[in-house]
Amino acid sequence: MKTQYKIALFLIVANTLILIVFGGSVYYFLYNYSYTDFYKRLATRASITAKYNFDTDNKNAESIKIIREQHLEKLSNEKEHISLINSFNDLKTFAEKSALPLNFIKEIYTNGKGNLQIGNTFYSGTKYKAGTNVYMVIISAENYYATHHLALLKNIILVGLFFIIFITISLSFYFSKHIFDPIRNITYKVKKISTDNIHLRLEENEKDNEISQLILTFNNLFNRLETAFETQKNFISNASHEFGTPLTSIIGEADVALMKERSPAEYQETLHSILSQAERLNQISQSLLFLAQTGYRENRLNFEILRTDEIIWQAKEIIDKLIPKNKIQIDFSLLPENPFKLKVSGNKQLLTLAFVNVLTNACKYSNNKNVLVSIASSNHQVIIEIKDQGIGIPASELQFIYDPFFRASNTHQFEGYGIGLPLTRNIIKIHNGLLLVSSEVNKGTTVQIKIPLIQYSEMKF
């Protein structure tokens, strides 16, 4: 069932129920009221009749009779039954004379009053004492109001109900059909956007409602998709460029060498140059492979319990071999007293590689100025901050630093091919950590790496 029909059906059922309850209760309460009210009117008439018939004060009785005739409207089919009751036999004869059930007469005699309905005729009786005599007055009449007015009311309510239900149904269908117009519109437009025209966007309207939020969400999604597409395109062009340069130089060298006979020394030189280019190629392809491998989370990595400070020392040892002139200082002033607060679960090779990458960058882009590494640990994570005084990264390019092969515009004089940072980020991601880079051009870059600790409770054996 379409959502549209669901909404329509819900609206119709809900409205009809409300209407029926409303109309029904109006009818019910009025019906009840008309009966009690009618009995009251009959009772009043009975007591008045008793008064002017049996009152000892004749003058008074006469005036009451006049008032009654002038002011109390005659009810339809109104009849009076009056009788003097002196003994039980009188009750019987009265019942026979007025053709009323004996029980009703008895009830009036014992209770002083009573009500009865036979068909459309209503009876109300009262007992009246005048001196030593006991009289009984019963007034009967037909309830014109109940039979006619209530029937009319019933008709009005029923006809109204049908009209309103008809209007509700048509409104519900109209409403449910058109409330989804904007959404259908969006579906239609989004369907038109494919990989070929991903630059297209939905029209954003000014209103701040759910629909415009949906449109905004879609547009943001498209923005991210477009960026991802761009990155992929850039990646391919960058990768072919990176692979192409050494290949061109290999081909060129070989071509030149083969043009004529050369001395062995010249061949050797050519071969050396070719070898170094091939090594570079090899390095790039290996690191690319590594990047691809770390990009998947679900690969079989050996995770063990590691001490972060040890990993940093190891990374430093590796850097000492690679860049002997480095000036890395490790600051332990915030090292926690409790060694458990340094333990993380991770893969040793990968984490070391990540730190080596960051540290190499810090040394390389600062021409071996001071690099300060500090380790601290909160209750949930180890925080390693690596601060250099290098050339920094322009603020506008910070968002691209994790794209493979991306190199900031101010790095031309440094060697590298832009795989280190994406690789580091992949590694930190595998360890559920965070990599934060903040930088200021010509002042330096600060890299913060946060890796979650092994929770203490898990380590208590």
């Binding site: 926690p336 209750n379 901050e385």
Partner: protein, 148 residues
């Protein structure tokens, strides 16, 4: 005997540098740290009716600040007994003296060059601290919380 020291803070990790240096330079074992933030009390009666110090602190505190406190707690695990954040609402020097007496503070450490970054309604307690008559040490530091 355990000492109680007071550090004025502004809920930035930088302001905790004072505490870091204080702990570094005076290796005192068993210290109770009170981090004090000073703020004028609100004038609104309804706000005062529902006053809660915890709620005010909660509205100011940042995850970074909490993390920095936990770093310091881990670093000086044996030295620090407790770290508490307290609000000071006083207007004059006497109320500050009362505050010090009530909290049984033995020493105060303040930053030498750093000026506290005040939020709305906050005020700088350093003038009160200097006139309080307690031993006050000025700590000099320049950079951010790490690498100093």
């Amino acid at each position: 005997m355990a000492k109680t020291i007071l550090i004025p803070v502004d809920f930035t990790p930088e302001s905790l540098n004072t505490l870091k240096l204080a702990l570094k330079e005076n290796s005192i074992s068993g210290v109770n740290v009170i981090l004090m933030y000073s703020e004028y009390l609100t004038d609104s009666i309804t706000d005062l009716l529902f006053y809660s110090a915890d709620r005010i602190i909660e509205s100011h505190i940042t995850p970074d600040f909490e993390e920095t406190i936990s770093i310091l707690k881990n670093r000086y695990e044996t030295d620090i007994k407790t770290i508490k954040i307290e609000l000071f609402h006083g207007y004059n020097i006497n109320s500050f003296k009362n505050f010090i007496e009530a909290k049984r503070i033995d020493a105060i450490y303040i930053p030498k060059k750093y000026t506290l970054k005040l939020k709305k309604n906050g005020f700088d307690p350093i003038p009160f601290i200097k006139k309080s008559g307690l031993p006050v040490q000025e700590m000099e530091w320049v950079s951010n919380f790490f690498n100093s």
